[in-house]
């Protein structure tokens, strides 16, 4: 049985003037890490709130742990853990008080499920008497995860848990998620870091309330339809401006130390064009796209469709 099923769910705000989630369907298997990837305003948080029974859908149905999100909302609240995008623990309670509070609300105690949170909690334990509002970003995130886990949920909902968190803490955080997965916990997570998308079992790319694709990271990458090149030269900024002006360019954008470019012409022609423009130390190589490239491509196509509509 799937841990989460979503069938044709739609949600509007502001007396139906704002379409937040548009007829979305997907399912998440038990013990799967499923990533919702999409820009700000795509509808990710709305999906999280409906599945955690904090919002009612306008239409469609959904289940979590086999329970209906409308009829069985009380039962669902007992089996899910939710870490909202905005820090929402009690700022005036200490680390330990927050955790005790959440344990008590769920009729359990810190001791009872200590195994589950131990790895994470030992890192914040030295600060257990500090008020939550006084913790750094990385610490707040660890505490929030502990609070979401303290009742041993079946399904964990994590809405952008690593935004503003440094790369070392992010890696630790994902190591923890893998351990939770190994214990059979299902995880629905959203993120704006594309390297994290690669760590999910499957990812759903979401835009303007619509699900554009659902696949494993590998299949998402394999579905990239064009040839992609990495290009670099001495002046990256002027290289970017010149490549964008080049008539054979489909898309060109910065990517770390290189520019990534998809073209209708070939490598030799691009090289010649850049040499004529006076670029030095030109390097061009064919590359395998990343999830980030796939995402950028989808967004660009969407933008073009929208601007064609405007015309």
């Amino acid at each position: 049985m799937d841990a989460i099923t979503v069938n044709n769910v739609t949600k509007t705000y502001n007396k139906k003037t704002v379409l937040a989630v548009d007829n979305i369907s997907f399912s998440v298997g038990k013990g799967e890490i499923f990533g919702l990837i999409g820009p700000d305003g795509a509808g990710k948080s709305t999906i999280f709130r409906m599945l955690t029974t904090l919002l009612l859908p306008d239409s469609g149905t959904a289940t979590v742990g086999g329970l209906d999100i409308v009829k069985d909302f009380k039962a669902i609240r007992g089996i899910v853990g939710y870490m909202p995008g905005r820090f929402s623990l009690y700022q005036d309670l200490t680390v330990e008080e927050n955790l005790t509070f959440f344990a008590t609300v769920f009729n359990t105690s810190i001791e009872e499920n200590y195994d589950l949170i131990k790895d994470i909690y030992v890192q914040i334990e030295p600060f257990k008497d500090r008020r939550a509002g006084k913790l750094s970003g990385g610490m707040k995130q660890k505490l929030a995860l502990c609070c979401a886990l303290i009742h041993k949920p079946e399904v964990l909902f994590l809405d952008e848990p690593t935004t503003g968190v440094d790369v070392v803490s992010r890696k630790e955080f994902w190591d923890m998620l893998k351990r939770l997965k190994a214990q059979g916990i299902t995880i629905l997570v959203s993120t704006s870091y594309m390297d994290e998308a690669t760590l999910c079992d499957r990812i759903g790319l979401i835009l303007n309330g619509k699900m554009l694709s659902i696949a494993s990271p590998e299949d998402t990458i394999n579905a990239y339809p064009e040839k992609l090149y990495a290009v670099k030269a001495n002046s990256i900024y002027h290289l970017l401006l010149d490549l964008r002006a080049y008539e054979g360019t489909i898309n060109c954008y910065t990517f770390g130390e290189y520019l990534h470019i998809s073209i209708t012409s070939n490598e030799a022609e691009v090289r010649k064009y850049l040499e004529d423009k006076g670029h030095e130390n030109i390097e061009i190589k064919a590359i395998t796209p990343t999830v980030e490239d796939c995402f950028i491509r989808l967004l660009k196509h969407q933008d073009e469709r929208n601007s064609n509509k405007d015309k």
């Binding site: 999409g38 820009p39 700000d40 305003g41 890192q123 030295p126 600060f127 913790l135 750094s136 970003g137 990385g138 610490m139 952008e160 935004t163 503003g164 968190v165 440094d166 790369v167 070392v168 803490s169 992010r170 890696k171 704006s192 870091y193 594309m194 990256i236 900024y237 970017l240 954008y253 910065t254 990517f255 770390g256 130390e257 980030e292 995402f295 950028i296 967004l299 660009k300």
Partner: protein, 247 residues
């Protein structure tokens, strides 16, 4: 050699026994994009607050835009721009009102404010949104607007504290287009970020660990020194050594 716009010498800030920033020494040149990296809690924000004239250092020396951080913090504030992810625009003012407000704060004349408003709204393509509240804009647009507003007075330096946190990959790149354009005009960019691909877009990058600057070089130089394929790896090698917990 290029004009130096930020110069620090053993700049230090203590809070009681805790040394938040520990004798950092570095220069930043005019028109440079300088990436100021470090783990959560490494001391980046404290260092940045001193450079912006918001916090008086415990010891050491620093000048920003030619002004002394101890004696002339008010002069510094007039000559820099500042943007953070947490706070930058007034949500209850419209797009146009925000531009006018910041123009006024930074001492532009009414004529200049009018010109700048039109210019910015044109450039960012915000015609339909000009009279809407900022709270109604998507995050990426807000960030682009708040960067534009932070440089509305053409400051010598703009400080950007995690400007792209939570912004999608496509919008982050549009944001960097604006940064490149600003740097091309001679504005010095001082930026912190957790997206390490963005470190590659900087001319030089420093990495702070436990209050100290552990490494400072061009991205290519750092990769070479630390025998790493990406800045991610460099950062990981350095930050893992941190003794201080993220607080």
């Amino acid at each position: 050699m290029n004009e130096i716009v930020i110069k620090t010498n053993k700049l230090t800030k203590r809070f009681g026994d805790f040394v938040a920033v520990d004798e950092i020494t570095f220069d930043v040149h005019k028109g440079e994009i300088f990436g100021f990296l470090g783990a959560n809690g490494a001391g980046k924000t404290t260092a940045m607050r001193m450079l912006c004239g918001l916090s008086i250092p415990t010891s050491g020396e620093a000048t920003v835009a030619g002004y002394d951080v101890f004696k002339q913090p008010e002069e510094i504030k007039k000559n820099i721009g500042y943007m953070s992810q947490k706070f930058s625009l007034y949500e209850d003012l419209t797009v146009k009102e925000n531009i006018e407000f910041y123009g006024g704060i930074y001492g532009l004349s009414n004529k200049e404010i009018k010109e700048k408003s039109t210019e910015l709204i044109d450039k960012l393509g915000l015609h339909n949104e000009a009279k809407k509240l900022v709270s109604s804009l998507p995050l990426g647009w807000k960030q682009k607007l708040s960067f534009s507003v932070a440089i509305v007075h053409t400051p010598k330096i703009v400080f950007l504290d995690e400007p792209t946190g939570g912004v999608d990959p496509s919008m982050r790149r549009q944001f960097w287009d604006l940064i490149y354009e600003g740097a091309d005009k001679g504005i010095t960019i001082f930026i912190t970020t957790h997206y390490l691909d963005e470190a590659e877009y900087c001319n030089r990058v420093s990495i702070m660990v436990d209050g100290k600057i552990e490494a400072l070089d061009s991205p290519a130089g750092l990769r070479q020194t630390y025998e790493a394929k990406t800045i991610d790896e460099v950062f990981y090698k350095l930050a893992r050594k941190a003794k201080r917990s993220a607080d």
